[in-house]
């Protein structure tokens, strides 16, 4: 055998760094309407290629085309547009509130609004999402009050979580939104457990697990796929691939697997890849996966191909690790603009009505913000009582905590 020489260590790198010209020419984008829509009881082995393609509905002309089109009425699409615009406006105001020192921290959804907003509308009441910190569209699209979200962000006297949680770590059982944890990927296997419980209980409700591209490298991603596969749990395993995990490009987590959807194939889980900036495609795929789960056909893995257009968080500056204009070059565009153009094409929307809606939504968000701020912000006004700090550790406060509460003088 020939001498192979010294081993060389491989570390993947993104193609472009700050100062370079953004280039996504190597990202294959299939034509809208070109990916077939299989039956929900399809043999996973027969649709393996779908893990390497991208399901798209909206074409460049703003038309809905192909087998995944036609599920939503124009009224439903108008409502979806409003949800995405509301989330974007909400983000902008809260990002500004963070800069003004009214809260300590915020994370935006810029460019990813379609994923959570459209997904929510594919679920039924009683279903449970296990979200990450970047799916607030699930709450917006389900009608969760913006004032309550802001109260949580401000940790004020009306904060439903009593000031115990970092901003944006919402929780609402009523709205099918599981308590957010700072620890990445933990919720992925919990979602599978919730779905197993629903099956054990002969219920009809399903669960949705959420994770980002970077966090798929966590071991809980793996355990979730094993458990979902083994017990055929009624769960939708969502992977939001926004290309970035803080400063780390998706190739570090993905390695040589080609796509994140491909990860599901080794577990025998049907795995789809979808245009995450296409409201109609996200909704159609979510509906397909939800119907599968509810029909006792087991889990589906869905990779949403999107782009994190904003900073990772209010503590992050992306210009330190990627070109400033990279999001403009993203070939799947902006989810709001794309749905807007589709609705204009349908003749139910116009640039004027869009501008008017933007103004109305801004007024609504500002009004909510005023109301929330009347209950206090992080460093001013009403705040949760110090007694609350000791409550809820256990159902009943044990003696040692009662002693500590006395020592704290509350």
């Amino acid at each position: 055998m020939a001498d192979a020489g010294m081993l060389r260590f491989h570390v993947p790198e993104p193609e472009v760094r700050p100062g370079g010209t953004p280039d996504f020419s190597n990202v294959p984008i299939p034509k809208a309407g070109s990916v077939p829509r299989p039956e929900i009881d399809v043999d996973p082995r027969s649709i393996r290629d779908m893990a390497f393609s991208i399901i798209r509905v909206l074409n460049r002309n703003g038309e809905a085309v192909g087998p995944w089109a036609g599920l939503l009425s124009s009224d439903e699409l108008l409502e979806g547009l409003r949800h995405m615009m509301t989330l974007r406006t909400f983000d902008a105001r809260m990002q500004m509130a963070q800069r003004q020192g009214k809260t300590s921290f915020y994370m935006q959804h810029l460019g990813e609004e379609a994923v959570s907003c459209a997904f929510r509308k594919a679920l039924a009441p009683g279903d449970m999402n296990f979200p990450t910190y970047r799916q607030a569209g699930l709450l917006i699209a389900d009608g969760y009050p913006m004032v309550t979200m802001m109260n949580q962000i401000y940790s004020n006297e009306a904060d439903p979580l009593k000031g115990r949680q970092l901003p944006i770590m919402y929780s609402s059982k009523e709205h099918g939104f599981f308590s957010i944890s700072g620890n990445l990927a933990t919720q992925y296997i919990q979602a599978v457990g919730w779905a197993m419980a629903s099956a054990i209980s002969n219920d009809s409700r399903i669960a949705a697990a959420w994770i980002g591209d970077g966090s798929t490298a966590e071991s809980d991603f793996h355990s979730a796929l094993v458990f979902a596969s083994t017990y055929k749990a009624p769960v939708i395993l969502n992977v939001v691939n926004n290309q970035w995990a803080i400063s780390t490009f998706q190739g570090i987590a993905r390695g040589g697997s080609g796509t994140f959807a491909a990860r599901g194939l080794g577990f025998g889980i049907p795995s789809l890849r979808v245009d995450g900036n296409d409201y109609l495609a996200v909704h159609a795929v979510a509906k397909w996966a939800a119907t599968r789960a509810r029909s006792n056909l087991g889990p589906t893995l869905v990779e949403y191909v999107t782009y994190r257009a904003g900073a990772h968080s209010s503590s992050d500056d992306p210009s330190a690790y990627r070109p400033k204009t990279e999001s403009d070059a993203w070939p799947l565009g902006d989810p709001v603009v794309r749905l807007k153009n589709h609705l204009i094409k349908l003749g139910v929307w116009s640039d004027e009505r869009h501008a008017q809606a933007e103004a109305e939504i801004l007024d609504t968000v500002i009004a909510a913000q005023k109301e929330a701020e009347s209950h206090g912000t992080l460093h001013a006004g009403g705040k949760p009582s110090t007694r609350e700090m000791f409550e809820g550790v256990f159902a009943e406060m044990p003696p040692h905590l009662r002693r500590q509460r006395q020592q704290a003088g509350v």
Binding site: I189, V192, I200
Partner: protein, 337 residues
């Protein structure tokens, strides 16, 4: 009253709980068809079906993580980690998720799970079949930690743990599964059928969490122990002739501080015994509490007898395990101090 081994008592606790509440589910590695590597779940799958008692993939974080999701749904999972030594992959789920869920969601979601783990040494288990990781749980706010020492308590405490609204770590000293063990490895072990605490009532009863039991009343020195060390302490007291008051803590958190303080105020001396390594072990917390609460009654330094600060060895089992001779020496030294 029927006599049962600790294994049978634990199995009975799950049987009674599953019978009373169809929300109780039991799963873990080899727990289903086979009935567990220690036989603790034998017959449960046959009796309650595969939806209630089932085998899990070899993934501790998967077992605990899925149990948390089930609890959030409304079930009451009682899961098994095959050995406490293998809980570490689940530590993130236990400490950051199970323990914090009620607090961080302000009660929107809760986590009534029980995680059973065989613990402790004295069985030539070597490094990864002998550990006592209780201090890694007592340090975590939001977890309750229980260590039974006999069949009667094991059943009552496990039923109480399953019925508890919060996550409970249930550490089962595997050295005590078939009979009490006082550290005299050169003598034959007597089975639970010969021991009064092997009497386990049929049906439902609970032993409340957070309440210690005085195993031997005494006036000279208080011994704080749990699990296997309760019998080691009893042997040490008998062999030294020292009138020790031996307290079996049963629950480490919440801790029964009142019983501890009342005893130390009476005896004026305290020896703490555990198998786990010394430094930052649970004994340090006990020692601090005794010193803070009983300072003016203490007539000697609080002593600790524990496993050495080394990984648990194989060949040196009986040099590592805190046996009656070491505990006896600590009793004598504390009385002479």
């Amino acid at each position: 009253m029927p006599r049962r081994t600790m294994i049978e008592a634990i199995r009975d606790a799950m049987d009674v709980s599953m019978e009373r509440d169809d929300k109780v589910v039991v799963f873990g590695e080899d727990v289903g068809f086979f009935g567990g590597v220690f036989r603790c779940t034998q017959g449960l799958q046959a009796k309650y079906g595969k939806s209630r008692c089932f085998d899990a993939p070899i993934s501790e974080s998967g077992i605990v993580g899925s149990a948390i999701g089930m609890a959030a749904y409304g079930l009451k999972p009682c899961v098994e980690i095959q050995f406490a030594d293998y809980m570490y992959p689940a530590y993130d789920q236990l400490t950051q998720e199970a323990a914090r869920l009620r607090y961080r969601s302000n009660g929107d979601f809760t986590c009534p799970i029980v995680v059973r783990m065989p613990t402790g040494g004295g069985i030539f288990g070597g490094q990864t079949h002998s550990q006592s990781p209780e201090a890694l749980f007592t340090h975590v706010s939001g977890l309750k930690t229980v260590v039974p020492s006999n069949p009667h308590d094991a059943k009552g405490l496990l039923i109480a743990a399953i019925e508890d609204p919060d996550p409970v770590i249930f550490l089962e000293p595997k050295r005590l599964y078939n009979g009490p063990f006082d550290g005299h490895h050169d003598r034959p072990v007597t089975p639970w059928s010969k021991h009064e605490l092997g009497e386990v009532a049929d049906g439902h009863y609970t032993v409340p969490l957070g309440k210690a039991a005085i195993r031997r009343a005494g006036a000279a020195v208080t011994v704080l122990a749990y699990g296997t060390m309760v019998y080691v302490a009893q042997a040490a007291a008998a062999e030294t002739g020292i009138d020790a008051e031996i307290i079996d803590l049963r629950t480490l958190l919440p801790l029964d501080l009142d019983t501890i303080v009342a005893s130390v105020e009476k005896t004026g001396r305290c020896v703490i015994v555990h198998e786990a390594t010394l430094t930052s072990g649970f004994g340090a917390e006990l020692s601090a509490l005794v010193q803070e609460n009983c300072f003016y009654h203490l007539e000697a330094p609080v002593a600790r007898v524990a496993g050495w600060d080394t990984p648990y060895p194989h060949a040196q089992e009986w040099d590592y395990f805190p046996g009656p001779a070491r505990v006896g020496r600590a009793l004598i030294e504390t009385l002479e101090a």
